[in-house]
Symmetry: C2
Subunit: 236 residues, 2 copies
Amino acid sequence: MPYELYYWPGIQGRGEFVRLALEEAGADYVDVARGPGGMSAMTRLMEKAAHPPFAPPFLKDGETLIGQTAAILLYLGARHGLAPKDPEGGLWTHQIQLTLSDLVAEAHDTHHPIATSLYYEDQKQEARRRAEDFCRNRIPKFLGWCETILARNPAGDAHLVGGTVTYADLSLFQVVEGLSYAFPRAMKRALRDLPKVAALREAVAARPRIRAYLDSDRRIPFNEEGIFRHYPELDG
Amino acid sequence: MPYELYYWPGIQGRGEFVRLALEEAGADYVDVARGPGGMSAMTRLMEKAAHPPFAPPFLKDGETLIGQTAAILLYLGARHGLAPKDPEGGLWTHQIQLTLSDLVAEAHDTHHPIATSLYYEDQKQEARRRAEDFCRNRIPKFLGWCETILARNPAGDAHLVGGTVTYADLSLFQVVEGLSYAFPRAMKRALRDLPKVAALREAVAARPRIRAYLDSDRRIPFNEEGIFRHYPELDG
């Protein structure tokens, strides 16, 4: 039975971290909310499930329903060899993912610093202040931490954890892609000091299954409804 | 060998979720940064460790170093019976924790909507707007989800997961305590519609080890340096 992924159709958003793991694993899955009747199926699960997810994305594997991006990846990583099998390595991979999730939340808040329930236009002033700090302080801090981890990996600097690809690598790729879309000027500057992060991004993009996915219409283009939005006035 | 907990001295912050789990477990631990030389030990680990934590809190168990609150609780929960042993129950408990972590991050941003690097006084206007939305929309949404989970727990509404206490229960207690300190008016209103959440809070506070902890000087009082801050102008 294929996995069922539930996420807002039309954006990459947090669902994209799950899609990348499923694609790299070559797993059979249905992106439910992008198909007919999918949105109401998604709403129904959120309202009626015994373990209701707080928000999309969530993954259904038979009777198992899992919400929260990092928890989904913890589950998929163990099943598809996208995380080390030893508990300590698995937990370290998860810890990196949780830190990338924090960065994603901060990236979202650059265009919605006041309220998700308001339009960008209603918080544009505040967004400009928040994005300035984000580009100047937060991007270098988070991605600098990733650069350090790559440098300290005893198995080499091609991966965040061990000597093979993990979901943490895929997620770092996605974060760099998203930030580069949203903040091209700030990211061009930041990546100059992050050669290992930049190399990992290229290496992930060149993986056969990821390349095929990125070239397919399963990959939704970045847009201004998602988490990573390109508003030139925010690119500091 | 006792666990070593590393967190900023002087605030409850995210470290408190770990402290509550350690206290309920009756585990032997040292709150390192509150002791002599503790701050420099904390900085040293962040700078030098093979698996450097991005930020406190982090936990050292022998040679194992774990950052990210939710990852620490995943680790402790399995070791101390503070989460179900079956993988699905363990993942569900973790998912609840991750959602509470999201709420904690949003609570922090009510007083720092623009930048952690700036003082509250430099973002007071924006804080007022963000806190208004937080009190009106986000608190009811997050805690309403917890109320639903309690209602749907097949083992009864005394716990979020199963029939015994988990770290998710302890964390929900802490979130309700913190929000009630920061936003007493908004929370008084919100809790009227959340009888199960309110009862869980009382039940956790009455657990012998938690009660002893709360009455001890190991429990740092809430204050305006932490995540949950009481600024009357933000209490909507």
